[in-house]
């Protein structure tokens, strides 16, 4: 007799796989701890995956439609919920696109603050990712360390923006308020030094660990051609040998003045993706050091425009603009269309996970063991809400 759940899923239009006597169907997620709100329907033969269907429709909240009913600046408080580990990225791309439509040149001090916030978000996101990977590998100690170090950055974010996880800090034309003072800068410097000194511990416990190598090496391999055709971006693309980074290719904010490297590996497997992220974490800390050494330039923290004083009535000239930044999950972009009113006409957020979270994941998981599925999922750095906006 057909299972009631399966029948209901079929009625709801889900394509389920025919069950023959050698294979069985396994619903993996969305409540499974290893999938992070993501759902996969797997066709299994023993412990091997024969076929996979990604089903991200669990989180849909219609951000893009809601954005059409709200004044320009209030959308920031909603759009940043698209990617929880790194909420500053949607804030920034949306604000940068609106800046372009308004024709605003953001003051230098605001650019410095935005760059610093983005880099802090990157470090915090990589630590969050290290936590996830460590938990999936069973190295719980390292995961808890990463969470604890991330907490330090959270405290600094709280002082800067008033919010711990969601900051709602970057607004069109600059940032919402100035940095709290020199004490905050000193604390940030200490934190950067502290996290940098602890990277060796992560290496010993996770990235140089024999168990990690056995679990990650040769798993979920993709090559350069496949990655480019499938639109994979960010660390996943760099792990296949393409030195592509939005910060270098399409520079924004203060990145042209900063000195950093783009780590590239050629293998394209889960281990390469993990190591690229590990090297990038080091680069991001280095960028933060440079920014702190440079110091915040004097001047305003937002543009001096009378229209900014009445934000709910802010009217944006008609037109369209696209802005993108390099997030830890990949190339994050926002396409904004205005018809000259005080609400956006259309907003589309380009999440990087939509490329590597559906088709690529389905293809990488095929033929893998069930134990490797969470590791592949984690190594791709999937952010489920940004697929199902």
């Amino acid at each position: 007799m057909e299972n009631e759940l399966i029948r209901e899923a079929r009625e709801n239009g889900m394509e389920l796989l025919p069950i023959d006597k050698d294979t069985y169907e396994l619903f993996f997620g969305p409540q499974h701890m290893a999938t992070e709100n993501f759902s996969l329907i797997l066709k299994m033969d023993g412990h091997r995956v024969v076929k996979a269907i990604a089903n991200p429709g669990f989180l849909h909240r219609g951000f893009e439609k809601l954005a059409e009913f709200r004044p320009w600046h209030t959308n920031i408080a909603m759009l940043l919920r698209i990617c929880v580990p790194e909420p500053d990225v949607p804030e920034n791309i949306y604000s940068m696109a609106v800046d372009e439509l308004m024709g605003w040149e953001v003051p230098e001090r605001a650019q410095w603050i935005r760059t610093t916030v983005l880099e802090m978000a990157r470090v915090s996101s990589y630590l969050f990712w290290t936590m996830g990977l460590s938990f999936k590998l069973g190295v719980y100690t390292a995961g808890q360390w990463a969470a604890a170090y991330r907490e330090r950055l959270m405290a600094l974010f709280e002082q800067l923006t008033g919010g711990r996880v969601y900051h709602i800090y970057t607004i069109p034309g600059g940032v919402r308020r100035d940095i709290p003072g020199d004490k905050w800068l000193r604390q940030l410097k200490d934190t950067v030094e502290y996290i940098k000194s602890k990277l060796k511990d992560f290496d010993h416990l996770v990235f140089e660990n024999y168990v990690t190598y056995r679990r990650l090496e040769g798993i979920g391999v993709m090559d350069k051609k496949f990655a480019l055709a499938e639109g994979v971006t960010g660390p996943n693309l760099r792990a296949t040998g393409v030195a592509a980074d939005v910060r270098k290719l399409d520079p924004y904010l203060l990145y042209p003045e900063l000195d950093f490297e783009v780590p590239v590996l050629k293998e394209g497997d889960a281990l390469a993706r993990a190591l690229v992220r590990r090297f990038e974490l080091e680069q991001d800390l280095y960028i933060l050091e440079q920014l702190l050494e440079m110091g915040p330039p004097s001047g305003d923290y937002k543009v001096n425009d009378p229209r900014l004083k009445a934000l709910p009535r802010l009217k944006v000239p008609a037109g369209d603009a696209y802005a993108h930044v390099e997030a830890t999950v990949g190339d994050f972009g926002a396409y904004v269309v205005s018809d000259g009113k005080n609400k956006p006409y259309r907003v589309q957020i380009r999440g990087p996970s939509i490329a590597h979270g559906i088709r690529v994941l389905e293809q990488l998981v095929e033929g893998a063991r069930i134990a490797d599925v969470p590791v592949i999922l984690m190594s791709l750095g999937n952010c489920p809400p940004d697929i199902d906006r």
Binding site: N12, G13, G57, K65, G231, H324, Y335
Partner: protein
């Protein structure tokens, strides 16, 4: 992708890129929007030819397909957004199709850019644009109780009516369900 990619980004002025593309595609209109952003306007039936041409000209990656609804013009604007790692240029390819659900049809481009499959499913789910040749079109991602022909990102979508329909479970216990207001 060009083999010299690792040596460094090849810089080519945006005008030259547009000129080279327009030589092969006289039906298109092109312009430079600003540094690293170019735009083309093409007729909808030439989309496959044009994207094939863009792929030849080192636009390796498709970033997204955006549908913008213009009910006053009776048209959808489709914006295919391409990114070139070789030139570091973002190209908007704009085309317009009728907004009627029977006529809102486009050929699929997923054989040219495989990632387009996902964006086409997205566009179909939310706007009802049908991409011929994409067999994943009938697998919806949005709420399971969405009725056929009801596309939530269209400008004329009835939000309040939709919310009422969504909570079917309430109707079961509500005898006065016709007067039910959320």
């Amino acid at each position: 992708m060009a083999d010299g990619q690792e040596e460094g980004v090849k810089t080519m002025r945006e005008e030259t890129i547009i000129q080279k593309i327009l030589e092969k595609a006289p039906y298109a209109e092109g312009k430079v929007r600003r540094e690293r952003r170019i735009e083309f306007k093409i007729p909808a039936e030439r989309i496959r030819d044009f994207l094939m041409l863009l792929k030849e000209k080192d636009f390796e990656s498709m970033m997204q397909i955006t549908v913008v609804d213009w009910p006053n013009d009776g048209e959808y604007e489709l914006v295919y957004q391409m990114w070139s790692y070789t030139h570091a240029v973002h190209a908007f390819v704009k085309t317009r199709i009728p907004r009627d659900l029977d006529k809102a049809r486009m050929p699929t481009v997923r054989d040219i850019y495989p990632v387009a499959e996902t964006y086409e499913r997205d566009a179909h789910d939310f706007f009802g644009v049908y991409f011929e040749g994409n067999d994943k079109m009938e697998m919806p991602w949005i709420l399971d109780d969405t009725e056929q022909g009801l596309f939530p990102y269209r400008k004329d979508f009835d939000w309040i009516g939709y919310v009422k329909k969504k909570y079917k479970i309430l109707d079961r216990f509500d005898e006065d369900k016709d007067n039910y207001v959320i």
